[in-house]
Symmetry: C2
Subunit: 219 residues, 2 copies
């Protein structure tokens, strides 16, 4: 689980942020890498309350004025971190079965949400503090769920699921319990919850629980 291909749903990678890393071009890209690394570092160590423009500039070794000019405020920094996290080549698991894919996905999510330092959890918490971070977090999730729809398409093609299964609802049903327990209820991680939530959603899906009417103009 160390390659970028297995990066979880909402987990920021270990610094440096991926898009900055992939475009090492010039000074601008290098500064972005340094600054976004510093944001992740500060956030992981001190959470949102320790995240100041000053601390980020100092940690990055970048002039404060540059950080203010380019990112404006802490919300701007968080949004750019989240956008950088999403700017990667992540693809959902392909294990050969719907249940297997969902279970692997849930394990990735659980690993990200319980990682130390708690960067993914801190980014989610930050989305309750900053409107810009909230919008960026929403974009990231939207993109991750969209990428995961292929998991459902493959299961339909394998005959595991009825056609016209609503991919998004199935994915939400499979993954929501992990987020609910770890982010909202704040209960300790249950090692078998990822598998169980995946199995539950797969079972319901194969029984037709997410089968809506065929999309108009398509069936």
């Amino acid at each position: 689980m160390t390659s970028s291909a297995s990066r979880p749903e909402n987990a920021p990678p270990a610094p440096p942020a991926p898009s900055a890393r992939r475009r090492p071009g010039g000074r601008t890209a290098r500064i972005r890498t340094q600054v976004l690394d510093a944001v992740l570092g500060e956030l992981g160590e001190h959470g949102y309350d320790g995240l100041t423009m000053e601390a980020v500039a100092a940690r990055a070794g970048v002039h404060r004025a540059t950080v203010y000019r380019r990112w404006g405020d802490v919300g701007g920094l968080l949004a750019d971190v989240l956008d950088a996290v999403g700017d990667d080549a992540w693809q959902p698991p392909d294990t050969g079965s719907l249940r297997g894919d969902l279970a692997r996905l849930n394990h990735e999510i659980q690993d990200a949400l319980t990682a130390r330092p708690p960067v993914a959890a801190a980014l989610i918490a930050a989305s309750f503090r900053s409107e810009q971070a909230a919008l960026a977090q929403r974009r990231l999730w939207e993109d991750r769920y969209a990428r995961c729809e292929i998991v459902v398409g493959r299961a339909v093609r394998r005959g595991e699921l009825p056609p016209h299964t609503d991919a998004r609802r199935l994915l939400i049903a499979a993954t929501a319990p992990i987020y609910h327990q770890l982010v909202l209820l704040r209960t300790p991680p249950e090692p078998d919850l990822p598998d169980q939530a995946a199995a539950t959603a797969a079972l319901a899906a194969s029984a037709g629980a997410f089968t809506g009417p065929p999309p108009t103009g398509d069936g």
Copy 2:
């Protein structure tokens, strides 16, 4: 949906807070009612950022020193509001079927999370700012889920579910999608999601998805 018996999972009632209302006793109880009302009012109008000891004292018409002495800080106020919300006679729906009970429960949750002013949503957001509020929110949810276990017990007795169904996991599976969409993904409410999430969980449960081994000493 206006009586206290239909109060949602995590929704604070309209002010005044219920426990203060139910024990109108003396000056102390009256002040608590006034102050907790003021917290809900400030939170609903301005969110966490507008919530200060000064604003609460002014809105409540209570001396600032009293508010500081009794609640200490904003975290103390939030924790007391959440404890007051939970100190009620709320019982889960009893519609005669598992699917019906879960659907009603999900509608209550969706109504609470989309209510205006957004008090329940603001309390959840506050739990990412204040450790005291986080602990109180966790206690409230723990208590609500515990009360809801009777829904599963009744379904088992009616023969709708296999014995030894894990009530908590079933309840989490049924309700998590509502929280996930509205609180984390921040997507607009989908009118049929409460029914659909309930139906999905009920279907999976009746197929045995939440059947663990029998509790030791019980089977």
